[in-house]
Assembly symmetry: C2
Homo-oligomer: 327 residues x 2
């Protein structure tokens, strides 16, 4: 089998190497699969360079999710059969063409768009958990988010629209506005000092009860400034690289709740019921094509250098996917 | 009757004036009282200078709480009788010797230390609500607070000790340590860059689940740095005048919840049951002398200038109280 590995931290295009290893048959309780599609996420690239919150143990095979076809199963594995497709959720090191891992790392996948399904367990799951963990939302409620054109941001727009939740979407460039409106964003605005006034105008002053921020810096404070009494802001990233500005007057006088979300921690702590419920809600929407992640391009493992270079480029339009077993 | 009034914002010693007015008999549903004791709080002084979050409507009589003796009651008032003592909770303008207001503004007071009871509805109530609103605490749990020598801070120490909750108390000056330990503070430390390490040592690494901060600035971030996974920090003041520093790594990776508390809002929104429960828990502890606020000095209304000057001095040791009807 082929794996993508790096023995040191550094620029992904330089440190990632393709390596050939013998396949490994599944032991009792294990499953062997061949990987159909596995995405390249910004967090993967940060981890390879050593800039992520948690450092990989070297040598390391990157990749955190994907979709695969089952080749064979070990003793005692009854719910997964050879030939069926499975999602990889909870086993790292997916940038390879074959994988042998405990059955618990795989979730049976329905028929449907395999590339979309391969990207369910990180960004759509984050969007789903952001929308369900912090506050009971009902149709007609308003929320706001920064970096609305990120993969998570676009998922938030689509998942919210499915439930009739109305979104204010903040981006940094005017050119992104039409695309996000077409995706279902109710209001799309560029960031700036007068954000709160423009939000108020665009929403007729409707109370905004929940905010998602992955930018930090001034944007964090500006989002807080748009919120209703008792609203919650959830931080899940620091794209600006700046510490957030926190307006205590809003926290004290406007009872704004500040929370954080980290998917890695959710995977560590979520029990089987919680996982079942999260995946069970998302899988039909994605398999049925009702919500989508944009895809920029596909690469075989042999072109990993080109793939990670493309994934780092600003101009790309969606995710870069590795397709290790494509014909 | 005599009232203390200011017609303009400014230095309290300059703008506050003693004024004589005719008494007003209670109408139906009202109660007339004579004020025994009413404290001078920092928030009162800030409001007079115009530096508080909400500005007073001028001319204004300052003062937000006190204890009084009932002189007469209007038609339809059955639960309050002439001669009994009542707490003033929910009627502003207490810096006067007589007051006529709706019966709902008064709570029957038990026998006990009238001066202590006169200061129940602001600082002890804040401490009580901080300890009961944000997290279920049980005996043995650890909490941390800044400005532990403030009136609220000392109340937190005493109320926590009553329930077996253990406190880490952070102050700015070493000289305050013995007094707070004597009051029941389990750990008392001076603030500084290595605060988290010293807290860990002093508590044997026990998880700290709740923090109260009224300082903001760097202290806010340092308190956050001492907290356990999933803990809550509640901001209720900005004594340093600096915006808080917020460490997003703690919010995202350590799931720290940031909340705010403002007593004025609680009074606006708390229903009768909530008030009953809050006051009902505190009154016996204070009437029975089991928890105490330090008192620096007492002044008649005629010496309001001296009283507010004293209340602004750093060297005072506790609260300054107005005693309008003292012999």
């Amino acid at each position: 089998m082929k794996i993508i590995e790096h023995a040191e931290l550094g620029n992904p295009a330089d440190v990632l190497k393709l390596k050939e290893l013998p396949s490994r048959a599944p032991e009792a309780g294990e499953v062997r699969v061949k990987i159909i599609a596995t995405p390249i996420h910004p967090a993967n690239l940060l981890q390879i360079t050593g800039q992520y919150a948690s450092a990989p143990q070297l040598p390391s095979v990157p990749g955190g999710e994907g979709i695969a076809e089952v080749i064979e199963v070990g003793d005692g594995v009854d719910h997964i059969k050879p030939g069926q497709n499975v999602l990889i959720a909870g086993a790292g090191g997916t940038w390879r063409d074959e994988m042998t891992a405990p059955a618990a790392a795989f979730i049976p996948a329905p028929p449907g768009d395999v590339e979309q399904l391969s990207m369910l367990a990180v960004n759509p799951l984050t969007a789903h958990l952001l929308l369900t963990t912090f506050r009971e939302l009902k149709a007609g409620d308003w929320i706001i988010q920064s970096a609305a054109n990120s993969a998570v941001g676009e998922m938030v727009i689509q998942l919210a629209a499915q439930r009739g939740i109305r979104t204010v979407n903040v981006v940094r460039r005017e050119i992104l506005v039409p695309g996000l409106r077409a995706l279902g964003g109710d209001v799309v605005l560029t960031d700036g000092p007068d954000l709160a006034d423009r939000v108020k105008e665009a929403t007729d002053g409707a109370p905004i009860v929940l905010a998602f921020d992955s930018v930090a810096g001034e944007t964090f404070e500006r989002l807080v400034g748009t919120l209703a009494y008792g609203a919650t802001i959830v931080s899940y990233g620091v794209l600006s690289g700046q510490p957030p500005q926190l307006n205590l007057a809003s926290v004290i006088a406007n009872d704004v709740h500040v929370r954080g979300f980290w998917l890695a921690k959710w995977y560590e702590t979520a029990g089987p019921d919680e996982r079942q419920s999260a995946f069970g809600g998302l899988i039909p929407l994605i398999a049925g094509g009702r919500i989508k992640t944009r895809i920029d391009s596909r690469y075989p493992l042999e072109e990993i250098r080109e793939a990670v270079t493309r994934a780092s480029e600003n101009g790309r339009d969606g995710k870069v996917i590795l397709t290790p077993n494509a014909a």
